[in-house]
Subunit: 378 residues, 2 copies
Amino acid sequence: MECDDYGLTRTLERENLNLNPLQRGGVLPAEAREALYEFSDGYSICDYCEGRLDQIKKPDINRFLDDLADFINIDLVRTVHGAREGKFAVMHALCNKGDTIIVDGNAHYTTHLAAERNHLKIIETPNNGHPTFEIKPETYKQTLEDAIDKTEIKLAVLTHVDGDYGNLTNAKAIASTCKKLGVPLLLNCAYSMGRMPIDAKDIGADFIVGSGHKSMAASGPIGVLGMTSEWEDTVLKRSERHEKKEIEMLGCTSRGAPIATLMASFPHVKERVQRWDEEVKKTRHFVKEMEKLGEIIQLGVKPKEHDLVRFETPIFDNIARSHPRRGFFLYEELKRRRIVGIKRGQTRWFKCSVYSMTMEQIEYIINTFKDIIKKYQP
Amino acid sequence: MECDDYGLTRTLERENLNLNPLQRGGVLPAEAREALYEFSDGYSICDYCEGRLDQIKKPDINRFLDDLADFINIDLVRTVHGAREGKFAVMHALCNKGDTIIVDGNAHYTTHLAAERNHLKIIETPNNGHPTFEIKPETYKQTLEDAIDKTEIKLAVLTHVDGDYGNLTNAKAIASTCKKLGVPLLLNCAYSMGRMPIDAKDIGADFIVGSGHKSMAASGPIGVLGMTSEWEDTVLKRSERHEKKEIEMLGCTSRGAPIATLMASFPHVKERVQRWDEEVKKTRHFVKEMEKLGEIIQLGVKPKEHDLVRFETPIFDNIARSHPRRGFFLYEELKRRRIVGIKRGQTRWFKCSVYSMTMEQIEYIINTFKDIIKKYQP
């Protein structure tokens, strides 16, 4: 039917090199595609459920969650619908309307929304501004101490790696501050869990959230919520009426295919985080070569400690000024050469990632940018 | 790796006739399996996002949501992670901690959990007990009137078709009562939307939730939340800081494959609800033939108006008493004959559904039950 053709094809990832950082860590390996096929139907993972998703033995969600907890070294985990839903659940369980939390100035918008949905006040630890936009542990400490002087701080949230600059925060130092000041810490690992090794115990976080679709090679929507056992009774409190069911989880969360893909991808993910150093090396090479092209400046901490890169690109902005297609030229020139993932119309700056690409692909991308510059500069 | 083998195969639906009512409406048609394949990767539907999931044009989520609103005849819809998350969002937006809501006595446990998570008090409209367990409009009216005399009732929840008896409630009559008494009504259509025609305007509901994985041939987790436009500002209130983002949705909800399957299945679903009368006819035939076997009694309203059937089965319970495998015999006898979906160990009663099965399959199921009875009765 004409009216039902919603354009449900997606060749973008198959036919192009996708620089969108949001998409780089969510590409499924073959085994996860198989799992998706097996568990495609509605409540497919619920065939052998006895009342609790996390206790299902076939497929072995129960054991998987234990392995996942080991993987990030935290006492226990649940799957949620995404990192944002995990943040909401922790805030909802720990805070009351009108309470105050502290967050870092590079927090994802969903941290703000999770707080807003919970009617919480936010105090922000600023980053140190252009060009590195760092969240310094001493600034976090100062902001938290000042905040505590004024009001009770119910929760501290820290973005492990932020989505604007790809800066890796010193979570261990900040966790230590939070512990000393008696404020539980929620670490948002949406851009790190599944990409790089995470040791929540070593860091000292009370809560940790991750994103299956962002960084764990899973089909969306799915997230990971980990916590230390001292918080189990608060966050995983059971219903009085339905005693098996956990209230914050509304009984069950990931009742479908995404959890099957998260499970199927897990061996792949465990293996790839061991190769994180190589990814960082590739990113640094990419940044170095891009900066060589001139008037392309990497923002955020240098050298890169994460694959998400933000470039300031006056060179492309200058071309755009006199180009008949204006800001769209860059997107179109790249698209023509099978490179996508940079927003249409953007030339002053852009975010990108070459995570999991081969060196050949990275060289091709660098050379493409070089060619585009050459084409427009005499 | 041995330790990573979580048993991620699911032959149950492929190799058996599945009587589990939870699974009957969530089987994907071929076109949805294709969509799942196309949109398998992480944030696959977000390639062309400009900040709002519901406004994405490629795939055309924006137009799909309009079509979906037309389909159930309500002003506007959003996708959520499931019916329970939809109920939670409505309660969260309308109520404050300590508020009271009214629900029907056949409500799904997730209605209770959504209320409990919101710290709401529940007043229940009882059903009329054995054997029909009906929610009578006059009882709902009486309970609501009595409740209003004592306290403010912020919301009324009604289960359109319940998951225990498969009773279809007189939602129109109850909606009319709610309107007269000035209480907004949330209709839980998890077991009806996508199976039978729904006309929210005709019913007079303010909110309506549906379940993609339960009844709309979609991969889980995904649900539908519909509302009249008068509630838009309350439930879909935007963030002050991130002005495009809807707070109760935490920005975006179904960011992945499930929404692609819901969209791909939509023509199939629209077509099948037109054949709802045939499904009811098949169910009634199934019930009639099962009851003929003796000591098998259909509970709930007669004749059936929905495919979910609950049988009291003293005949199987009697066999179980002297069977060496006790209560497990029924499950095992059925499994051997490629019929699944009745819980292991259950013989006193069970729930089942023959939704979307062919008459041949239904006859096979009836004959199988007949054979099992014959085998154990001299």
